[in-house]
């Protein structure tokens, strides 16, 4: 049963590839959108891995990542507005 979680985590990792391509090739606005989606995917990835490996402490990591990616995204959005 645990393997289901790990398979799902592995498959979901493939979703990072389009984000990575957009981050490398897009315009600044596209890059920011891709970065935000990437951080959401990585957060969900953490949840899947935490459940797959039975490490409840990794849920804290997912929660922290979700909160910090919000702060990071806001800072990037502010800088994108005027300075970047």
């Amino acid at each position: 049963m645990d393997k289901l979680w790990l398979y799902a985590a592995a498959c979901m990792m493939a979703a990072l590839l389009p984000c990575l391509i957009t981050v490398f090739r897009g315009k600044p606005g596209d890059r920011l959108a891709a970065l935000e989606m990437g951080s959401v995917i990585v957060t969900l990835e953490m949840v899947l891995l935490a459940q797959g490996y039975h490490r409840p402490v990794m849920y804290d990591l997912a929660l922290t990542l979700a909160l910090l990616s919000f702060g990071g995204g806001m800072v990037f959005a502010r800088f994108l507005e005027r300075w970047l």
Partner: protein, 124 residues
């Protein structure tokens, strides 16, 4: 057996939604279109994953934590998306508010005949 099937379906749906959204992000043309696709992951995939954890896990602490992760993603992403769209628009146009020459109809606002004086009527 049934437990595994339900879990497989939930995780499969979550992964499929995430993959399709990521593909949508890569295919779309401008940041406004791209921004919509993270909402699919946040509002559907994260809820399905939270449901899968809730279904699989008996520990109440873990259940609460995963719901918390989903809630944080859900609330923060909406703020972040609108803020990013605003930033992109300011970067492109130099302003956030719609101007008369852009042809954007704004509810509750009447444009004066001579340019954009932004005379605002509040909705009744």
């Amino acid at each position: 057996m049934a437990h595994g099937v339900v879990l497989g379906i939930l995780l499969g749906v979550a992964v499929l939604l995430t993959l399709l959204s990521a593909l949508g992000l890569a295919v779309m043309r401008d940041p406004y279109q791209r921004l919509h696709y993270s909402a699919v992951i946040v509002s559907w995939a994260s809820i399905v994953i939270a449901a899968a954890v809730w279904f699989d896990e008996k520990e109440p602490q873990t259940r609460i934590k995963v719901i918390l992760v989903g809630l944080v993603l859900f609330t923060m992403n909406s703020v972040l998306t609108s803020e990013t769209a605003k930033a992109v628009r300011v970067r492109q146009k130099g302003h956030w508010e719609p101007h008369a020459e852009e042809g954007i109809e704004v509810m509750g606002r009447k444009e004066p005949a001579g340019g954009h004086g932004a005379e605002r009527d509040h909705l009744a």
